[in-house]
């Protein structure tokens, strides 16, 4: 009998977990070595935010890949999704620590007066229930409603992108690139949805 030349799933799982932690490990190392410059908070805010956006794009890529034939992809989507939530949470923690200094009054003022903060916070809020229901048991318990709930990924994506766009000062290049990527990934779903509705 011939063996198929594929890696066992646990091996790939380890690889995906490793890949998801890599940016964090690198950033932590650079931070510990003082290689993030005189304002490490700014670098960390930027990098955690960007890795979250990249992860989000990969999460959204899972369905098209499954459709193209790689059914096993969903096994790894969860790891990716939880990682995205962790990077966004880190991003938020840094904001609380460095930019508002854990002052409740200042946080409320930032949320009220600065739309990009509110938009970013809403993105985190929409990801929160997804992270909380990422276990097998939660998925079983919720049944059909799990899929409905997890459609929150779409508003979260739009909010995250709006957050990025709103932060651009003079160069919108990055926001345009992510915008195109998300437009393709969400557009693919919209097309499928219309085809099925017909």
């Amino acid at each position: 009998m011939q063996h198929k030349a594929t890696l066992p799933p646990w091996c790939l799982t380890g690889l995906v977990i490793g890949a998801c932690s890599l940016p964090l490990v690198l950033l932590a190392t650079q931070l510990a070595r003082g290689q993030l410059g005189p304002d490490p908070a700014e670098r960390l805010m930027q990098d955690t935010g960007e890795w979250a956006l990249r992860g989000l794009a990969l999460v959204l890529l899972a369905s098209p890949l499954a459709r193209a034939g790689w059914r096993g992809v969903f096994r790894y989507r969860r790891i990716l999704g939880v990682s995205v939530f962790l990077y966004v949470s880190l991003h938020l923690l840094l904001f609380a620590q460095v930019y508002v200094g854990w002052s409740g009054a200042l946080l409320i003022e930032e949320l009220k007066e600065r739309p990009y903060v509110l938009v970013g916070f809403s993105a985190w809020l929409s990801l929160l229930p997804l992270a909380l229901t990422s276990t097998d048991s939660a998925r079983r318990r919720l049944g059909r409603r799990w899929r409905q709930l997890h459609r929150l990924i779409y508003p979260a994506t739009l909010l995250a992108w709006l957050h990025l766009l709103w932060l651009a000062r003079s160069d919108v290049g990055e926001a345009v690139v992510y915008g195109l990527i998300f437009a393709v990934l969400l557009g693919w779903r919209l097309r499928r949805y219309r085809q099925r509705a017909r």
């Binding site: 410059g37 005189p38 908070a41 460095v98 200094g101 930032e110 000062r169 160069d171 290049g173």
Partner: protein, 322 residues
């Protein structure tokens, strides 16, 4: 020769060391370190290699911020100079491509003697002095920088501004081949970078033309060979690598104000009471900052220079003219 020297508002005159004592102490230090110019209170800068960098300057008239100076590495690796990219580390990585010698500054507009200044005229034609200033960026971080330079007023007087001149306009070098940031397709800045001051702001003794920092000539990323430093205004007013100066009757169009008038005003005086629409200006991260000790400090009106400059804006609503 009498010179108008600025003072720091946080020091009472009773705290100031008498000049004789100060000079004696300094002479002693300099003599023991073998510097010939010591008795004159003049410093000869040494570069890291120990070679004189050519800058001869008078010591800072006010030393009160000396202990708070931001480390040289931070000052020269964390910069906003969008001509070389929008990331803080881009200027230090890419600004070396800018040719700063030869360099010509065109001075014109409403002046009686329009003309040009060459790099040599700038470096040898003015009495250089050190000024240790707070530097507050509109992005809510700050530094303390020991600049070397001369008052802008000294430069302007040479070209004899006319009575009808009320503003001064500045332009940064725009050379696409040497400035990769200006070649970005998605940048919305209309190059060259432009800034401006009211003539009385420009003539104020605190307003400095800097040619160096930390005793050395300016690194390219910090605006070599010649930049403006207006310590009571947000950093974007302190335009870098200047090639043109014009005295005008009308308020000049400035880059950030043109781009986003609701966020960046012409005056751009540091003001904790007027927020940037996207973030608060009440606090600043005094760099170097860290995650666990962010070094957040309250921002001071006019960046701590209220006593010297508030008079320039008497009767003006600073919320309207931000």
């Amino acid at each position: 020769m009498t010179k108008r020297i600025y003072t720091d508002p946080s020091i009472a005159s009773s705290d100031i060391t008498p000049e004789s004592v100060f000079l004696n102490r300094r002479a002693f230090i300099k003599a023991s370190s073998g510097t010939a110019a010591s008795a004159l209170g003049i410093s000869t800068a040494l570069s890291s290699a120990g070679e004189p960098s050519g800058l001869i300057y008078k010591d800072a008239p006010d030393e009160s911020l000396r202990a708070e100076q931001t480390p040289y590495d931070a000052v020269t690796t964390y910069n906003n100079f969008y001509e070389f990219g929008t990331d803080k580390s881009d200027p230090a990585r890419h600004a070396h491509s800018m040719t700063t010698d030869p360099w010509t500054i065109k001075v014109g507009g409403l002046v009686d003697q329009p003309g040009e200044l060459h790099l040599e005229d700038v470096m040898s034609g003015f009495d250089l002095e050190e000024r240790i200033y707070r530097f507050r960026c509109v992005e809510a971080w700050s530094m303390v920088v020991p600049w070397i330079g001369f008052p802008l007023s000294a430069l302007l007087k040479r070209f004899a501004p006319r009575a009808e001149g009320r503003f001064v306009e500045f332009k940064t070098l725009y050379r696409r081949s040497e400035m990769r940031g200006t070649r970005s397709f998605t940048s919305v800045i209309d190059w060259p970078y432009r800034e401006g001051l009211r003539l009385d702001e420009a003539m104020h003794p605190l307003t400095l033309m800097a040619v160096g920092l930390y005793g050395k000539t300016l690194p390219n990323q910090n605006g070599a060979p010649l930049r403006l430093v207006v310590p009571w205004k947000y950093g974007f007013k302190s335009i870098k690598s200047i090639v043109e100066i014009n005295v005008t009757a009308e308020q000049p169009e400035t880059s950030w104000q043109t781009l986003q008038p609701s966020e960046y005003g012409f005056y751009a005086n540091v003001n904790p009471e007027v927020d940037h629409p996207r973030w608060s200006q009440r606090f600043e991260r005094k760099l170097p900052s860290s995650i666990f000790k962010p070094n957040r400090v309250p921002t001071l009106p006019f960046n701590g220079y209220q006593e010297q400059v508030a008079g320039l804006y008497e009767g003006m609503d600073l919320r309207q003219f931000y």
